[in-house]
């Protein structure tokens, strides 16, 4: 009878049988994590990734700077007559654009995550089902705020003076971040439906680009052909840009803010559960 080599209980790599046994026997099962603390733990995961690879914040810092400088100095004179005047018009709009572009990355990040085994572990944990997604988006909200802060700070340096002061600016940034949270669910849904991070990026930017440019972010809609003007007027991104301008200037219409919040809520209500379902069932 041939016997296979028996493994010895000798410790290797510093693993000791006794320490191992102790570690394996010492855990009573705690109460399940609450929905919020599970989501916050995932938010913490997102923050840790930024901490380990801070370069990933480059896209949310460099791109807004590029856009602001380019639009103000290249097109400002032609569109508004002077760069200073155009800056007042475009800064709230660029805040909207920079932050909304960042939401596409939420979908790309989720798609990248799916290729890794750790998702299996998350899915096999007894936690509130949307927690991994809500947590990731909470973490992404910090990125949105970074993008927003960069654009506002640079605007201030270039001479932008909002009449509603810091409170107005903060209110506008908060509104944009809430809308971005709602919109990012659309891209996380895309992230779960598409096969590669690249596909998500292409589809994401192909939809966010026209939507942003066909809004009042860059030009007054009155200058546009009728049909286009009609579209621009109902585009939620126009309404968000108008509301942000209003908040910064101190003359925001409550109706615009309500529409923005309602749109964010509706996007979350539709695409949130859809994303959660896809996340659980994607094999």
């Amino acid at each position: 009878m041939s016997t296979s080599p028996t493994t010895t209980a000798v410790s290797a790599d510093g693993v000791e049988a006794k320490a191992l046994r102790d570690a394996l026997s010492s855990t009573p099962r705690p109460e399940r994590a609450g929905a919020l603390s599970a989501a916050l733990a995932f938010g913490w995961r997102g923050m840790l990734k930024v901490k380990h690879v801070p370069e990933q914040l480059l896209d949310v810092t460099i791109t807004p700077v590029m856009f602001l400088l380019m639009f103000t100095y290249l097109f400002g004179g032609a569109i508004a007559g002077s760069t200073g005047e155009y800056l007042d018009y475009i800064l709230p709009g660029l805040l909207v654009m920079s932050v909304l572009f960042t939401t596409v990355y939420s979908g790309i990040a989720l798609n990248t995550d799916l290729t890794k085994g750790v998702v299996d572990r998350f899915r096999s944990l007894p936690i509130w089902r949307p927690a991994p997604l809500v947590g990731a988006l909470l973490g992404d909200s910090v990125r949105y705020m970074v993008a927003g802060t960069v654009i506002v700070a640079l605007g201030l340096a270039l001479g932008f003076r909002p009449s509603a002061g810091p409170a107005g600016v903060i209110a506008a940034m908060a509104l944009v971040t809430v809308f971005a949270f709602g919109l990012s669910w659309v891209f996380t849904t895309m992230g779960l439906l598409m096969r590669s991070p690249n596909a998500v990026m292409n589809a994401g930017f192909m939809s966010i680009f026209p939507l942003t440019f066909l809004s009042n972010v860059f030009v007054e809609p009155e200058t546009l052909p009728g049909a286009l003007e009609a579209f621009v007027d109902v585009n939620p991104i126009s309404i968000l840009a108008t509301a942000s301008r209003g908040l910064m200037e101190g003359n925001a219409a409550g109706g615009d803010i309500a529409i923005v919040l309602a749109t964010a809520a509706a996007l979350t209500a539709v695409f949130g559960p859809l994303t959660t379902h896809l996340y659980r069932t994607r094999s």
């Binding site: 394996l24 995961r45 380990h52 085994g117 299996d120 998350f122 096969r195």
Partner: protein
């Protein structure tokens, strides 16, 4: 208390099935795993092991049959199941972009430990698994063996009643493999039921008290390692020739000396069932006498190939076929998603 939660079985599966497009990955698997035991599921790549484990761990819905894990239905009571089991998947189920300590703390927080307890538990596990020096290094810089240990420790942040281990030693060097085996033994001693998927008969033999052999999504044999080995023959003489052209001649000699000879997928190799070293030596001597040039020979446990040969009459799928199947499966999954 209903009888289901007191059932002596940790896993009871009947006719469990799952298809990906046209590929029937799992085709009616029955399993009965006693509480507190280590149970091996043995099969080649693409046999349906991983799909079975993913269904039992509630990651994948079966499209046929049913299963209860620790008394709970895996579909209608999936959440209860998740609260009692943990999974160490074939892909490392840890986050490569975080450190070892961060990974374990995150899992602890998600399982409901308070912040301070989660941190303490992470340190305790890293110490026990010999990873304390690497605790603040990113996991992507870990060696394969370290990653495996972290992966297993992540499944033990809260001691599970049942643990799924999918090929825990595939790709590890012998030293790391022995370490993982020691960990599994310690876990079993503590009373955790373990379902172990493996490609290695030796691994199942070392650790498991029951083994199911699975092929093409079906259980083709079941029993204790002893029963299984007895049905296969307890040992085998592997011979490798210098000249593949001499294999028919060698086959005839071995068949005469030892009763049977099987050709292996390597054109210069063949195998005969044999547990007796003296008879094996005699057979090798006989080969030399009849002019067959032997490059090497070993006497050992039957390989998975031989188990399969004995049980099914065909060797385990060769790799190319497997890869085709895997690809087919992946395309099917993608099609399913885009549909």
């Amino acid at each position: 208390m209903t009888t289901t939660t007191d059932s002596p079985l940790a896993i009871e599966a009947t006719g469990l099935a799952r298809s990906f497009g046209e590929v029937r990955a799992v085709d009616g698997v029955d399993l009965a795993v006693r509480r507190g035991s280590v149970y091996g599921v043995l099969g080649p790549n693409g046999a349906g092991k991983t799909t079975t484990i993913r269904m039992l761990a509630t990651l994948l819905r079966p499209d046929g049959g049913s299963a209860r894990v620790l008394g709970h239905d895996i579909v209608s009571e999936a959440d209860e199941v998740r609260g009692l089991v943990s999974l160490t998947g074939q892909l490392a189920s840890v986050d490569e972009d975080l450190t070892g300590w961060e990974n374990l703390t995150l899992i602890g927080r998600l399982l409901g430990l308070r912040r301070a307890d989660a941190k303490k538990r992470a340190v305790e596990l890293l110490d026990a698994f010999g990873l304390s020096d690497a605790s603040s290094r990113l996991v992507k810089n870990y060696s394969g063996g370290m990653r495996r240990r972290l992966d297993i420790s992540a499944s033990l942040v809260v001691t599970p009643q049942l643990m799924f281990l999918d090929e825990p030693t595939t790709g590890l060097d012998p030293r790391s493999r022995n370490l993982v085996w020691d960990i599994i033994r310690a876990l079993a001693t503590g009373g955790t039921t373990i379902l172990l998927c493996t490609q290695y008969l030796e691994e199942a033999d070392q650790l498991a008290e029951g083994i199911a052999v699975i092929d093409h999504g079906r259980v083709i044999a079941e029993g204790t390692p002893e029963q299984l080995k007895a049905s296969v023959g307890s040992g085998a003489l592997h011979v490798r020739l210098l000249d593949p052209d001499q294999r028919p001649q060698a086959e005839a000699v071995l068949a005469r000396e030892l009763g049977a000879a099987h050709l292996e997928s390597d054109p210069a190799s063949l195998t005969s069932p044999c547990a007796d070293a003296n008879r094996a030596a005699g057979a090798v001597a006989e080969l030399a006498r009849s002019g067959v040039d032997v490059a090497s020979f070993t006497l050992g446990q039957p390989s998975l190939d031989e188990v399969f040969l004995a049980l099914t009459g065909h060797p385990a799928e060769d790799e190319e076929k497997e890869r085709d199947d895997e690809e087919k499966k992946e395309t099917a999954i993608e099609e399913e998603q885009t549909a």
